[in-house]
């Protein structure tokens, strides 16, 4: 088996109920080395809960979580794969320096060298302030310190919860590059975020959660299937246009969204659609191929779930 196909995280029927609500409802999946997995879903879908359970912040009431084949409860300093995380609103010891934080993070691992720490500091742009107390850091520096803490332990699994909240566009781009580099090195990266466009750009695999369940698990490749397109057509007479297009293709799905028609299907013939609409005296103002497949897919999925 190639390195990219090494199993890093295995969730088997993981379940947790709290306050009468199923926070994580029998979720199962297998994540591999080198993947960047996006965990998306509406609020209270269970994304953060799942990440916290993988990090042992919360306990699974049923099922098992394994990292590199080892149960998370039995993990120690000599376990095969390491786990690190960048949590939402990371917290620090304000009276300690950035370097102290990195020292504390790496102390259990004897294979981490000073050179490795130095590289991570350089990569996260903390070189000038690493010996300063965290209390003096800007919010961006603090976030990058959390990233440095996560990277410095050379993890096999890296989890990020809402990573872009504390960063400016430059910081987001930098982080995206870092995560892609880590994935290229064989790290399995799991990112939970609301920002679907960002996930679109970053992830190689998307898992969508709702009400604690996994409702979809597909690769970005599948998401961007060139044969399966979504077209938005802004028209003057939507009801009439709907009847025309419904009759035109058998294997397409057409629905009305205000003054727009959304047509989904394989091998959509856009010129033919345009001609037919005009022939049937429908005013066509705009035809656009959807450029945000994830968002579209996500919204569609949510509608179906409802």
């Amino acid at each position: 088996m190639s390195k990219e196909k090494e199993v890093v995280l295995e969730l088997d029927n993981v379940f947790r109920m709290h306050g009468g609500r199923r926070q994580v409802d029998h979720c199962s999946c297998t994540l591999y080395a080198g993947e960047i997995v996006g965990l998306v879903g509406p609020n209270s879908a269970g994304k953060t809960m799942l990440i916290r359970m993988i990090l042992r912040h919360l306990r699974a009431q049923e099922g098992s979580i394994k990292i590199c084949g080892e149960d998370i409860e039995k993990r120690g300093p000599h376990s095969k794969g390491r786990v690190s995380a960048v949590l939402e609103n990371p917290s620090y010891y304000r009276y300690m320096t950035g370097l102290d934080h990195l020292k504390m993070a790496t102390r259990p691992y004897k294979d981490i060298t000073v050179e490795m720490i130095r590289k991570v500091v350089d990569r996260t742009g903390l070189k000038t302030c690493i010996r300063d107390k965290v209390a003096t850091y800007t919010s961006k520096q603090r976030y990058m310190l959390a990233v440095a803490q996560a990277l410095v332990t050379q993890p096999a699994l890296l989890l990020l919860d809402e990573p872009t909240d504390d960063l400016d566009p430059v910081g987001i781009k930098n982080l995206r590059e870092i995560l892609k580099e880590e994935a290229a090195k064989g790290v399995c990266v799991v990112v939970s975020s609301h920002i679907l466009s960002e996930m679109d750009m970053l992830c190689t695999r998307i898992i969508i959660m709702k009400d604690g369940r996994f409702i979809s698990d597909l690769s970005s490749h599948e998401l961007l299937d060139p044969n399966r397109a979504r077209v938005r057509i802004r028209v003057g007479q939507p009801e009439r246009a709907y009847e025309v297009l419904e009759a035109l293709f058998d294997d397409t799905t057409v629905r009305i969204d205000n003054d727009e028609l959304i047509v989904t299907g394989e091998n959509l013939q856009i010129p033919q659609m345009n001609r037919t609409l005009i022939f049937n005296e429908v005013d066509v103002y705009e035809i656009a191929v959807n450029r945000e497949p994830l968002e579209e897919y996500f919204m569609e999925l949510m509608r179906e779930e409802e």
């Binding site: 916290r52 120690g76 917290s91 300690m96 020292k103």
Partner: protein, 514 residues
């Protein structure tokens, strides 16, 4: 897990925990030492005699300015004062301290001298208040008797011949006993028996009576006092009407134990710490041992610091939400909790060492130059001796100090464990800190105001950390008799182990904050 402990110490170091704690503890200890030194009477024995002499001379100089009812009364006061001045001058010239048995003999000597002067001047000593002169045939025989007595007295003083003095006292007592025992009640007979026994012991152990610088003398005196107390308890119904039955029983047990300890000490030729302290008290001096044990009060500062550390070491991680990062370390939650506990206990041990070390150094510097203190320096080190549960316990002084402070550190450790558990359960720093500080500082003060030893009120003493005063278990003098000795220790163990179990279990299964 060593890595986790090192991380915990790094956090403490970066917060300057040890620096601030050391400064706080040493400043407190220094303040205590200064106050103790200023309060204690560190004058030498002869300084005290010289001061008394000056005071008496001043009094004599002003005696005529005082309103006296009669001239004779004034003359009597002048004679008494002059005799005192002569005695003190002699003591000063011959380096005899106030507490020395010779002081008593000299007092009698100068009284006789005064009476002889009055007789020689044709005065009646009775006019000047000297009425207890016994029977005599004539003025000449009285003078002869007094002169003989005076000669014997001064010879005893000059030769420091306390054996003759003791033998004379014994003979005198035995004679009185023989003459009066038939007419005496049981209590008086027993009391006199005890006195005779004491004089026999002074002679047997070749020690000067009333000498506060001779431990055997003090021990014999203590023994006599304790036996007299028991005699009164047994034969005098009206002796202790101000005490409750429980208090009396408690006192009786205590006195009986003291008697055993003092008899054991004399037999074993080993000075007990209690007698040593008594000697220091009588000699109006502060000793090294007294100071080293007294500065233990400053362990309250260590206790407060330990409570603050225990309240924050875990709960502060929850408050700052850094606990989320801490559990990312590749260790189980039990190991993480254990690392914090071990860090806390090691810190307590380090901080607890400061007070006794400071006490030993400053005690040597400030309180080793007194008469009693010098005897310690020269090797006459006392031992802690106690009679507990039918067994005699003897612990050398320095080991006793070590045990004393170890028990104090253990006590602080137990309080810290309870605080740690409380803070982990509540995830709060302020509440456990406040509650435990108040309880630990005010608890002993409150239970000391609860005089009752009767169940269930006495239980309150334990609830207010009474059973944490661990020294009571080696001293055998329980703060409250209920629950009994074993129950008290079991309750303490259950509380400690229960707190530990709660702490570990709660942290192991606790959901962490987001």
């Amino acid at each position: 897990m060593g890595d986790l402990i090192r991380n915990e110490f790094l956090k403490l170091h970066r917060r300057h925990f040890f620096l601030f704690s050391f400064i706080l503890i040493l400043l407190s200890a220094l303040l205590f030492t200064v106050v103790y030194y200023m309060q204690s009477d560190t004058r030498s024995d002869m300084d005290i005699v010289a001061e008394q002499l000056e005071r008496e001379k001043t009094y004599l100089g002003q005696i005529e300015t005082i309103q006296w009812e009669t001239d004779l009364e004034m003359q009597s006061a002048i004679l008494t004062s002059q005799a005192t001045i002569d005695r003190l001058q002699y003591m000063l010239d011959h380096s005899i301290p106030q507490w020395d048995w010779r002081s008593d003999v000299l007092s009698k000597y100068y009284t006789n001298q005064t009476i002889l002067s009055l007789l020689a001047a044709g005065q009646d000593p009775a006019d000047y208040g000297y009425t207890d002169l016994g029977t005599y045939e004539s003025k000449a025989t009285l003078m002869q008797k007094l002169e003989n007595l005076r000669d014997v007295q001064i010879r005893m003083v000059e030769e420091n011949d306390y054996m003759t003095y003791s033998q004379e006292q014994l003979a005198q007592l035995q004679q009185t006993y023989a003459e009066q025992s038939s007419s005496m009640d049981t209590l008086s007979t027993v009391l006199m028996d005890i006195q005779i026994e004491s004089w026999k012991l002074y002679i047997q152990y070749k020690t000067a009576p009333g000498a506060v610088d001779q431990w055997k003398s003090v021990t014999i005196q203590e023994l006599a006092d304790e036996k007299q107390w028991l005699a009164r308890y047994q034969y005098d119904d009206q002796a202790f009407t101000d005490m409750t039955q429980e208090e009396l029983e408690r006192q009786k047990t205590w006195v009986q134990r003291r008697i055993r300890v003092n008899e054991y000490a004399l037999k074993k030729d080993q000075i007990p710490l209690s007698i040593y302290d008594k000697m220091a008290e009588r000699a109006k001096t502060t000793t090294y041992s007294e100071f080293v044990l007294a500065i233990k009060n400053m362990m309250r500062v260590v206790m407060t610091i330990a409570i603050a550390l225990a309240a924050s070491i875990m709960a502060d991680e929850f408050r700052r939400r850094t606990i989320r990062q801490v559990v990312l370390a590749p260790y189980s939650r039990t190991q993480i909790a254990a690392a914090k506990l071990i860090t806390l206990l090691i810190s307590i041990v380090i901080l607890s060492l400061l007070i006794p070390l400071f006490g030993m150094v400053s005690g040597r510097l400030l309180f080793s130059n007194t008469t009693i203190g010098q005897s310690v320096s020269s090797g006459a080190v006392p031992s802690f001796i106690a009679y507990i549960h039918g067994r005699m316990i003897e612990i050398p002084f320095h080991l006793y100090i070590v045990i004393h402070y170890l028990l104090e550190a253990f006590k602080i450790g137990v309080v810290a464990i309870i605080t740690l558990m409380f803070a982990t359960l509540t995830e709060s720093v302020a509440v456990p800190l406040l509650v435990m500080t108040i309880l630990s500082l005010a608890g002993p003060a409150i239970y000391s105001t609860i005089y009752t030893y009767v169940y269930p009120a006495a239980i309150l003493r334990y609830m207010l950390f009474g059973n944490l005063e661990l020294v009571q278990y080696i001293q055998g003098d329980l703060i409250a008799p209920y629950p009994n000795y074993i129950t008290s220790i079991i309750v303490l163990a259950v509380c400690t182990l229960g707190s530990l179990a709660l702490y570990f279990t709660d942290f192991k299964y606790k959901d962490l904050p987001n």
